[in-house]
Symmetry: C2
Subunit: 254 residues, 2 copies
DNA sequence: AAGTGGTCTAGACCACAGG
DNA sequence: CTGTGGTCTAGACCACTTC
């Protein structure tokens, strides 16, 4: 207790003690002093080794957890599960618009909607069984109520078919409308992107040439139970749209 | 201090005290009792209000930080920055293969490589100035050394041109080779996806018809300073490839 | 039963922001 | 200068795992 803070003496940055401890432990794991699957010393032991309180040691171990090198279990101990800090790339979507990649001044305009029964092809697209009923909503996405962005087919489970009444009032995405009106909570969205060439009907609706290359974006929305409750299929003329993703290396560790 | 744990008395789940406190505060913010930009009571005050120690209060406030409702600054206080917990979607890439979306049994086969000077079009693609030198590596991606997956043009800054000697030895991605051999650390990758139709030369190399629709994936790799050190442009015949992204709702809050 | 990590208290000193 | 949050100590009881 004679030295609560040695910061004045320490070389460069005045690092908190728990970060120092975390750094030491991390380097020891990286250098192979502790191997995979091995238990780290107990908090108790580390307290003694570093002459630190449990609080400090636990803060340090929390860092090792955060960067994926150890896991901790009450009763059993702290186990090494990776010999290097994990450096994952992550895509952060801060707003819903980033998921849809359309600006807020675009809206959907419904062209047609009807309940359909899935055949094998559609069932595969919806990742469900054939013979099921889904409500299909055909629509155009418009920028400033005029410029045609893309053709979108939206499939929702028939119990949610009345969402169609809320589409186009504002720029709220359809999956959000389903969430809000039916109490669904979406847990996961799968986005699949492929290329193709446009059918005559859709090409006409978008005022482009038939067979023009297009980008197809399929979004599958899963609820809390993992069940798909909505699938949207958007077809974009190649020259009008590109999909972009920003991946940042996970900020982890100390 | 008469009641260290009231768990036996509490109704349902035996929630830790800090989660209870976090819940109360969160509901108070959501209900408008604390408004945006307002300072929350100090830790000191919350300790008294909840008859809890600073540790407990701080753990609670940490939860509110984690779900993006408050920020905290030494000296100034705890400020409300959102009236609802943020529910972001995130894409987690656990392995590099998920970034490239090719299985590990594919490899690059270099067709040609030369140093080129950027014109305006290429400069725009590389997001750099025209007149710069970049090293261009033309290649095919092969599955099991035979089946042609896609055509890939890779541009690296000329000082890294010798990476070409390491390509194809194993399935290590080129950007990783640059990282390893030149000490680069990539901080960010931007992925841009668009559709197009294939040039005669590339169509021949991939044994598909000219003008066939294709998916173009452009990946821009940024180093620690944000500088782009590599750009790859992959062209996939439409029927052979689709790009898929899995977004999961961020697990936040209590 | 013994030992682990999870929660919690009541203190303390410090760096920083603000008037 | 005062008060904020950031770091840290030395205790304590508990839930859980393991033997």
């Amino acid at each position: 207790m004679a030295e609560t803070k040695i910061n004045k003496a320490s070389a460069s940055a005045v690092l908190p003690r728990y970060l120092e401890v975390a750094g030491v432990l991390q380097r020891e794991i990286e250098s192979g002093l502790f191997v995979l699957e091995q238990l780290l010393p107990t908090e108790q032991a580390l307290c003694q080794r570093f002459s630190a309180s449990r609080f400090t040691i636990r803060e340090a171990l929390k860092r090792l957890m955060d960067n994926g090198m150890v896991n901790r279990r009450q009763g059993s101990g702290t186990r090494v599960i990776a010999t290097r800090p994990s450096e994952n790339f992550v895509q952060q979507l801060d707003t819903i618009d980033e998921l849809l990649q359309y600006s807020t001044d675009t809206r959907l305009s419904v062209i047609n909607n009807e309940t359909v029964t899935t055949d094998i092809a559609l069932a595969s697209m919806l990742q469900s069984s054939s013979g099921e009923d889904w409500h299909k909503i055909e629509s155009l996405r418009l920028l400033n109520d005029q410029q045609k962005i893309c053709w979108t087919d939206i499939y929702v489970r028939p119990e949610y078919k009345s969402v169609v009444n809320y589409i186009g009032k504002d720029s709220t995405p359809v999956f959000k409308l389903v969430e809000n009106h039916f109490g669904i909570i979406s847990r996961e969205v799968n986005v699949q992107i492929q290329a193709g060439s446009m059918s005559k009907q859709h090409a006409q609706a978008l005022s482009v040439e038939e067979e023009t290359p297009m980008l197809i974006v399929i979004r599958r929305y899963h609820d809390e139970n993992g069940r798909i409750y909505e699938v949207s299929v958007s077809e974009h003329p190649a020259e009008r749209f590109s999909y972009s993703i920003n991946l940042t290396k996970q900020i982890k560790g100390n």
